[in-house]
Amino acid sequence: MNNSRRDFLKVGAATSAAIVGSGTVTGAFANEFAKRTTKIPSASHFGAFYAHVRDNKIVDITSQLDSDANPTVMVKALADRNSSNSRVKYPVVRKSYLEGKGRGDLRGKEEFVRVSWDTAIDLVAKAIKKAQDKGGNEALYNASYGGWAHPGAFKPNALAGRFFNQIGGAVRTSGEYSNGAAGQVNPSVVGDMEVYSIQTAHEQIIENTEVMVLWGADLYKTNRAGYSVHNHRCFDAYEEYKKAGIKVISIDPIYTTSAQEFKADWIKIRPGSDVALMLGMMNYLYKTGKYDKKFIEKYTYGFDRFLPYLLGKEDGIEKTPQWAEKLTEIPAKTIEKLADIMVSKRTFIAGNWAMQRAHHGEQVDWSIITLASMIGQVGLPGGGFGFSMHYEGGGDANSGKNTIGGMSQGGGDKVRIAIPASRMSDLINKPGENVTYKGKVIKYPKVEFMLSAGGSPIGHQPNVNELIEAMRKLDTVVVVEPWWTPTAKMADIVLPATTTMERDDVAGAMSYSADRIYAMKKIVDPRYESKDDYEIFTMLADKFGKARRYSRGRTVKQWLERLYKRSTAKRDMGISFDKFWDMGVIKYDIPTSARKFVRHEAFRKDPINNALKTETGKIQIFSEKFASYGYEDFKGHVMWFEPAEWLGNEELVKKYPLHLVSPHPTYRIHSQLDNTWVQNVHKVQGREPIRISPNDAKKFGVKDGEIVEVFNDRGSLLAGVVVTNTIRDGVVAIEEGAWYSPEDAQAGESIFGGNDQRKVRCNSGQVNVLTSSRPTSAMAQATTANTVLVSIKKAGTVSPNVAYNPPKIIGA
C-alpha cells in the first residue's frame, strides 16, 4: 500500500513542469498521483469496493458506499492479501514426490521444488491416471467443497467439479459443514430447508415483534460477511429494532456482540443442552394449558405421538422444567418465565446454525419448530421462527429479480459416491466400511488421489491431527490455491491460482435481497506465475482430451456474457453486458410488497391450498419416515440425547473441565484473511484468542494476554488469553479459522515410526485441532465441532508462529 521510492522518483520527473502550475511541490505530486491512479470496481464477500490502482499496484481499497451501507474493516485487508508473502508463486512439487519416492509421511515436513507449469500439470495428470488404473474414478476424491473462495461466477470448487465430471467423476461431498444436520431434517419437518430461505422482512419484525429470542444467533457478527457480496444494510434495520423497543433475550453461553448491541437479557445456557431447555418449556406449556391447542390441531401432525415422551410415559422421565434445570443449569423458574413471556408476547425465535453443529444436532431446529408450534405464532407477522436471520442479511426484502449465476460443474459423474460433509478422514481411513446416511448406506471406496481447490480442509474439517494422518496415507495430494494455506503445505503438488483481483468475474448479491449485480474487474496483473483456476483446469482437461468439452471453446468473457443473459438486467431491462461492465454495478428496486413478507404466512392462511411439502402437508412433530430409519440416535420425534462431551459428564469433566465452542470469526470468513494485517486487531501475541471468564481464569491461573496451551486427547494448541465477563463460567471460545501451524513441523507420527501427531502443538490456535470428527448421529453424519471438552495450562516455552510463511522451496 505504500508508495515506493521508485514511484516517487518517477513522479518527480514527470511533474517537475507541473509545480509551476500548482503552486506547491506537494500539490503537484498529489495531482500527478491522482491522474495516474485508476479506480476499479469489484466485489467480495466482505462487501463491494473500489480498488485504487497505480502502476499495477493497489494503493487503497474504498467501499462502494451506495452498495455497502456499513462497511467493515475487513475489506481494507484485501490489498494486503493480494500482495502477501504467503502467495504461492510458482508451481511446486514436494521433493520426495518429485524424486518418485512418494514418502507421503513427509507431507507437511519436507521442502518443495519449483517446477514448470508443464511439469506440474503432467504430474497431476499422471497421478490421476495412476489412481484410475488402480481403483477407477472411485479412487479420486474431489475435496473442493464449498463455494466460499469468492462470490464470483468462476468458483474454484465448481471448476474442479467440472473437470472431474469431464473425466468420469470423483468421490465428492454431500450436504455441508454449515447445516449438515438441520439441512437434512428441516425439509421433512416443515417442507423447506429453512436455513437458506427468505426470512420474515425486517419491516414486519420492527412493526410487530415484541420479543426476539436470539437462540445462539449473533446477527451482528455473522452478518459482517456473506456468501455473496454483503451489503450490511441489516445493521440499519437492527437500529430500528432497538428503536422499536423489541425485548431481546439471548440464550447463549456467550454474551454475543448482538446481545451487547441489543442490551439483551442473557440466559447463560450450558452448551449442548438447548434441546433440554426447549423440552422443559414445552412440558410447562402443556401442563399449564398455555400452549396453542388450535394451532397444534390445525397445522401440525403427530403431537400425540410426541406427548408421551414429553410427559415421561415412554422412558419414565418427565421433561419438566426441573428436569431441564439439572441439564441446562437454568433455574426452573427462569424456564417457566421464558415460556410464559414467549407464549404471551409476539415472539420471534431467531435460531442459529452452531447448535446443530453438535452431537445430536438433528434435534435442535426440529425442537425449535416444535416449541414454536406450541407457542402458535408461526406465520404471524413478527412471530414464529427463522433460521437465517444471521446470514446474508436475513430479513432483507427480496427484489423478485434474477441476478447472475455461476459456472456449473456439468454432468458426467459416473462415480455416484458423495460422502457426508465432515466424513473426510473416515473416507480415507476406512475404505470398504459402510456409513449410514439419511436412511441409506454408503460404502467408502479406497481413495488414492485428493484434490482441493479454493478451500482448506485443514481448517474446516474437525480433528486436524486425524486428517493429517489420513492425508499422509494417500498416494497424491494436489492443491490449487493462491496462498500457502495449511492444506497447501500438506500437498505433493501445489498449483498457484490467481486471486479474484487478478481476473475478470461477476457476482450477484445478496442471497435474499437479490438486488445487485457487480462487475468484478481485474484490478492488477497476476502475480508471479499464477494462473486462473479456469485456465488451470482447462490445461488439466486437455491432458485427458477434454479441454474443448471443459471450456466449450469459450473465453472467460464469453462465459460471463452467457451467464449475464439470464439476469433480469438483460432479459427485462435490456441492459447490454458491455453497458453493465461499464457501469460496474446494476441495482434492482425492491418492491414495497416484499417488505410485507411474513414467513409461513401463506400456510397459516390456507393450510390446504398452501400445504407444506411434508408427508402430511403439515408441520411434522412426528415423522413416520424418520421413525422408519430405525436409528438408535435419531427417532420419529424430538428427543433429548446426552452429548458425548459436555459439562454434564462428571467423569470427563474431571479430566477436561472446560467446554470449548468455536464460533465464526469476527475478522475473517473462516480462514480467509488470517494472513493479513487485519488480524492484528484481535490476535493475542500472534495467536488466536481464547475467551475465558474471570472465574475460570483465576481457577486455572491464567492471565489476560498470556499464551496458554489448550488440550484434550485429540491434540493441543496455543492461544492467547482474553479474560472477559462475556462468556459463562466453564466455557471457553476460540473462533474457527486460524491457519494451522505445527510448532515443530518435523515432529508428528510417521508411518516409518516416530512421534504421535497428537503431541504436535498448533502454534497458531486452529481450533479444529481440538474438535472431534464424531458425527451428529447415524442420520445426518454431520459435524459436531461444538461438542468438545478441553483443559488449559501454561504454555511453557513457545517459538514464533510461522503459520503464514511459505515453506522452503528449492529453485525459487
Binding site: 421433512s188 427480496n398 454432468g411 450477484g508
Partner: protein
C-alpha cells in the same frame, strides 16, 4: 445424471420387479396430445410411462394409468406429479375409486424407450443450474416430496423463472425415488 439413467436402464433389465415400469415400457418424449376413440383428446406430459397396446403404422395405441382429480390425472393419490389433462368427454376407464386408465393414439415418434432421449435436455439444464455452488445431488436419492421441499429453498439461488422452475421440478420429481421410475435404494 446420464449415468443414473443408463444405470437405471441396466437395472431395469436386471431387476425388473423393483420397478413400477416393465421392460417394454415407453415414455412420453415431450408434451403431447392423446386422441381418444371418440375423437376427444387429453394432454399428456413429458416423461409419463405408457404401455403400447398396438402398433398402427406411424401411430401407436397406448394405455396410461393414474389417479383422476377433476379433469386432471396424477401419478399418485397424493397428486404429486401431473400425468394428463383430459378434455371433457374423453373416455376414461375407471378401475377402482379414482384410479383410471386412459387409452388413445398418438404419434409413435412422441414415445421413446430411451430415458436419456426423454430427459437428456432436462438433465443438462439441471446440472447447469444446480451445480454452481455445490455438486448436484443424485436425483433418485430424494422422494418427490423431498425434492419439492429442497427445490423450494434452492430455486432462488439458481435464478430460475417460473417456466424454468416447473420444467426442472418436473424432471426432479419424475426421476425421484418414488417418481415415474421407482427404484429401491
Amino acid at each position: 445424471m446420464k449415468t443414473i439413467i443408463r444405470n437405471t436402464i441396466i437395472l431395469l433389465a436386471l431387476l425388473g420387479s423393483l420397478f413400477q415400469v416393465n421392460a417394454s415400457q415407453n415414455f412420453i418424449y415431450q408434451d403431447s396430445v392423446l386422441k381418444g376413440d371418440n375423437g376427444k383428446t387429453a394432454k399428456i406430459f413429458v416423461g409419463v410411462p405408457v404401455t403400447i397396446k398396438k402398433e398402427m403404422g406411424k401411430n401407436v395405441k397406448v394405455s396410461i394409468k393414474g389417479y383422476m382429480f377433476g379433469d386432471e390425472v396424477y401419478s399418485s393419490k397424493t397428486k404429486e406429479l401431473l400425468v394428463a389433462k383430459v378434455q371433457k368427454g374423453f373416455n376414461v376407464n375407471k378401475t377402482e375409486k379414482n384410479e383410471v386408465e386412459l387409452i388413445g393414439t398418438l404419434s409413435k415418434e412422441l414415445t421413446s424407450s430411451d430415458l436419456l432421449d426423454v430427459w437428456g435436455e432436462h438433465e443438462e439444464f439441471y446440472f447447469e443450474m444446480c451445480t454452481q455452488c455445490h455438486a448436484g445431488p443424485e436425483v433418485n436419492h430424494h422422494t418427490m416430496m423431498e425434492w419439492e421441499a429442497v427445490f423450494g429453498t434452492m430455486r432462488g439461488f439458481a435464478k430460475l423463472d417460473e417456466e424454468e422452475a416447473s420444467y426442472l421440478l418436473r424432471y426432479l420429481k419424475a426421476n425421484a425415488s418414488d417418481g415415474f421410475i421407482k427404484v429401491k435404494h
